[in-house]
């Protein structure tokens, strides 16, 4: 069931109706039932995976809770309060127990993810290795495994919950149905965001009372998301797909256009989807974390990643980057390196962690080497630009540029956008790294002319081009407006008739200029004769 479909609209409408008809204390159950139904409709029997993930998470959390109670019996409060060593001992004991449970849990949930998503990749690489060194490639792998919907998202969300429990940042949820709802909540199952238990649970589990504000805000968000997806993203997608598929037959200028449009398409699609997610959740009064903060206005790659797919970035930061970078082992390694060179010593843990995180981020996006390369490039660019910062500062001082001058800002923003667009070549190159390099080479060396008829062959007619550009311009203006105040607040500041007109117009624009329906796939029929 796609987000932008009548069936989804009806599904949500039914869910909203039931939600507010049921007594407050059972409302979360309505969400759970509809979430499971949604998953079942999308995946059928593969719902078993998400159910198992919820179950494993619940059992682990309850075991951890048990250990937390046990420690209070074994080390009574009076004793630990008086004796600092005793307190430390209790803490160590608990930590060890909790760690064991956490590791088993993570092995199970990430194990499932690895087998389903990465086994093919691993076997292919083992076979490559065998081919290189032994001249055969016999391992057959597990065959084509079905990747359950949203597994990368719900696995990370469930794992985050357990890790938070281990760090005692949250209390365990004792109601298994509520926990299952946290893992399966349908608006965010397709494309995230990866919510934190602390952020999502209060509004998710409370039976929210009917408030017009929630409905209104939800609908506005959905409208905005649908507009982004239908007017911009879907219109550009055919061109991006085709021109990257025919990359050998088009010159570098088309490919340059392709990667720029791909960035915009991806943003419109992904952020539009997130708008729909947030809006849908909002209809139930549930508050889902924002996943984008106008990323194309970032002045550096590092900043970009704090503003694009925010929840994935913070997940990796909190659960991988920090634990690795400040781990005792890496810190000690850093000290050892320091004896040889203090420059490298200071950076050992930082950069090791960065590289690991970005290799994993790459793998998260897909089980292929090109994604790993893409992730690593991101990491390397961040490390390099951190090192170059003094140089930039020196250059700016010498040239008399001010950090906050408009030109300097614009330059940084455009540079970042271009870097990110070029990196995405790896994302686009479905044939692998070689294709990515070939596209890059063509963009750099084979620039040429562009004709409208060729663009149309590639799936972008003149009209589509005009609408896409107009849509992007509008999106840009809206983003600029959002700088100080969200567009929603701005709208609410207008008078009712004004809002009414804007809303009606937006719906009309989506209906007319949306890229959907037969008119865009079948030949236009009106001239057919009988």
């Amino acid at each position: 069931m796609s987000f932008v479909s009548f069936s989804f609209a009806l599904f949500v409408a039914a869910a909203v109706l039931f939600y507010y008809l049921i007594p407050v204390r059972y409302r979360y159950l309505v969400l759970l039932i509809f979430s499971l139904l949604f998953y079942y409709l999308a995946c059928g029997k593969y719902i078993i995976y998400i159910l198992l993930a919820s179950l494993v998470t619940y059992i682990s959390s309850m075991l951890m809770e048990k250990e937390k109670q046990k420690v209070q019996v074994l080390f009574p409060a009076e004793e630990t309060a008086a004796d600092r060593n005793k307190k430390k001992e209790a803490k160590e004991w608990l930590k060890k127990r909790l760690k064991r449970i956490m590791i088993i849990d993570l092995l199970l949930v990430f194990g499932t993810l690895s087998v389903l998503k990465y086994s093919e990749f691993v076997f292919a690489n083992i076979n490559l290795f065998r081919l290189l060194f032994f001249g055969d490639r016999k391992l057959r792998g597990l065959g084509d495994l079905v990747l359950p919907l949203g597994i990368s998202f719900y696995t990370f969300q469930a794992a985050g919950y357990i890790i938070d429990l281990y760090y005692k940042r949250i209390d365990a949820e004792k109601n298994p149905f509520k926990l299952m709802l946290f893992v399966t909540f349908f608006p965010q199952i397709i494309q995230g965001p990866i919510s934190r238990f602390k952020d999502l649970s209060p509004t998710l589990f409370a039976g929210n009372r009917f408030e017009r504000e929630n409905i209104r805000k939800g609908l506005y968000y959905i409208l905005f998301g649908v507009a982004k997806k239908l007017i911009i993203a879907d219109r550009l997608s055919l061109f991006v797909q085709r021109s990257s598929a025919f990359y050998k037959d088009v010159n570098g200028t088309y490919l340059l256009l392709t990667i720029l449009f791909y960035s915009l398409q991806l943003y419109a699609d992904f952020s539009g989807g997130i708008n729909i997610t947030i809006g849908t959740a909002r209809l139930f009064g549930v508050e889902v974390t924002e996943n984008f903060a106008r990323p194309f206005f970032s002045k550096s790659v590092a900043e970009y990643w704090r503003r694009w797919h925010i929840t994935l970035g913070t997940w990796f930061r909190d659960y991988i980057f920090y634990p690795i970078s400040i781990s005792k082992n890496l810190m000690n390694l850093g000290k050892k390196v320091s004896r040889v060179s203090s420059f490298f010593g200071k950076r050992t843990s930082l950069y090791t962690a960065t590289i690991v995180v970005w290799a994993l981020t790459g793998l998260w996006h897909g089980a292929e080497w090109r994604y790993v390369v893409w992730g690593l490039l991101n990491g390397i660019i961040m490390c390099v630009s951190a090192e170059l910062e003094p140089l930039y500062a020196w250059l700016n001082r010498k040239a008399g540029w001010k950090d906050d001058s408009f030109l300097h800002k614009a330059f940084s923003i455009i540079r970042t956008f271009l870097i990110m667009s070029f990196l995405r070549i790896f994302d686009l190159s479905f044939e692998g790294i070689r294709m990515a390099l070939s596209i890059l080479k063509r963009i750099l060396l084979r620039q040429g002319g562009i004709t409208m008829s060729r663009l149309e062959e590639l799936g972008l007619s003149q009209n589509d081009l005009i609408i896409s550009l107009a849509g992007i311009a509008l999106l840009f203006v809206i983003s600029m407006l959002q700088r100080k105040k969200s567009i929603y607040e701005r709208l609410m500041g207008l008078s009712l008739p004004c809002r009414w007109v804007i809303c009606t117009l937006s719906v009309a624009l989506i209906l007319v200029f949306g890229y959907y329906g037969l008119g865009y796939s079948g030949a236009d029929f009106i001239y057919m004769q009988f």
Binding site: R212, T504, A508, L511, Y516, G519, Y520, D524, F530
Partner: protein
């Protein structure tokens, strides 16, 4: 406590009304108008403009709307009728159109052309779906008709809200789309479409023998539903075959249809192909489109014959002395004559 609920209801109603208005306006602008060309696209809708009760309504594919002229029959025989045929109207579409027709203007006789009995499940033309169905008023029958006619890529919603299909016409909109958005002029002659072409060459069309002459299940199923429906509603049904000169009809079909019709009290089957000589149809002058349709000359001959047949056979009344009828129908006949003569002059 009560006030907020009222406010909510009023606001929701406002939203619904705005949405409805928006869809209506957009539908009206974006739907093809079929006024300056492809006027057959208006046959389904103009049925609702019959200003008097109808004595007979004729269903079938394009052969029918090119062959049966209600205005001409009014003038000669005095009964009121409408040709609710459409391009490639399949048997299942005829079924729903008959139901729709009976619901709005119950006729004393229904006739159905059986040419499309040859086409079943795998017959599909989006454009004819649109021309046939879009003109129907929104009803359960319309949606069912769409559901049974649709191909996988089509969406049922787009039949309820045509803007979902036609929005891609935004760059093809012409003056006529706005001019006729609110009200389209009447472009058919009570469902009859005048053909002003002819095929003077006599070709001998090749006869392609078939291995199996049984009707496709979907067509057969809906023919049975039509016959049962007419029986239930107590409306006589005439299954007929409009004369054409292409040799794609076989006696095996006649035999099966006679057998099927024979099972019902008020259904009969007549193949007018066999009457072509009695009617006086001239292969050189009266046909068009590769002898698959009658042109205006052929249609006038056929309407004269066919009108007399159904009037005598089914005892259709003569309203020519009735003012409520004649005030409407005489005017229509005049329009028909003027436009017909202009066209016929051009044909010669």
């Amino acid at each position: 406590m009560k006030r907020p609920i009222y406010g909510l209801i009023i606001k929701s109603l406002c939203v619904l009304i705005t949405a409805w208005l928006l869809f209506t306006v957009l539908d009206r602008i974006f739907m093809p108008k079929y006024v300056e060309e492809n006027t057959d696209g208006n046959v389904t809708a103009e049925f609702y403009r019959a200003d008097t009760p109808l004595d007979a309504v004729f269903f079938g594919s394009s052969t029918v709307y090119n062959a049966i002229a209600p205005d001409k029959m009014w003038n000669e025989f005095g009964f009121s009728s409408y040709t609710r045929a459409s391009a490639s109207q399949t048997i299942w579409q005829s079924y729903y159109l008959i139901r729709d027709t009976v619901h709005y203007n119950r006729p004393k006789l229904v006739t159905l052309d059986v040419s499309f009995m040859k086409y079943g499940e795998d017959f599909y033309e989006e454009a004819s779906n649109r021309k046939t169905i879009d003109g129907m008023k929104l009803s359960f029958d319309k949606l069912m008709c769409a559901r049974d006619s649709m191909w996988e890529e089509e969406s049922l919603y787009s039949y309820a809200f045509p803007i979902l299909r036609f929005h891609s016409r935004w760059n093809e909109l012409r003056a006529e789309d706005f001019k006729y958005a609110l009200r389209r002029p009447t472009v058919t002659y009570d469902g009859f479409i005048m053909g002003f072409r002819n095929d003077p060459d006599i070709e001998n069309y090749e006869v392609v023998e078939k291995e199996d002459y049984s009707f496709p299940p979907k067509a057969a199923e809906y023919l049975v539903r039509i016959m049962e429906y007419c029986e239930e509603e107590d409306i006589p049904l005439l299954l007929m075959k409009t004369p054409t000169y292409i040799n794609n009809w076989f006696p095996e079909y006649d035999r099966q249809l006679e057998e099927m019709a024979g099972k019902y009290r008020n259904v009969e089957y007549v193949n007018f192909d066999y009457c072509a000589d009695i009617i006086g149809l001239d292969r050189r002058a009266d046909y068009m489109d590769g002898h698959s349709h009658l042109n205006i000359c052929g249609a006038e001959k056929f309407s004269g014959f066919f009108g007399k047949y159904i009037k005598d056979r089914y005892g259709l009344p003569d309203h020519r002395q009735d003012d409520t009828y004649s005030s409407v129908w005489n005017e229509r006949y005049t329009r028909y004559c003027i436009d017909g003569e202009i066209g016929k002059a051009a044909l010669k």
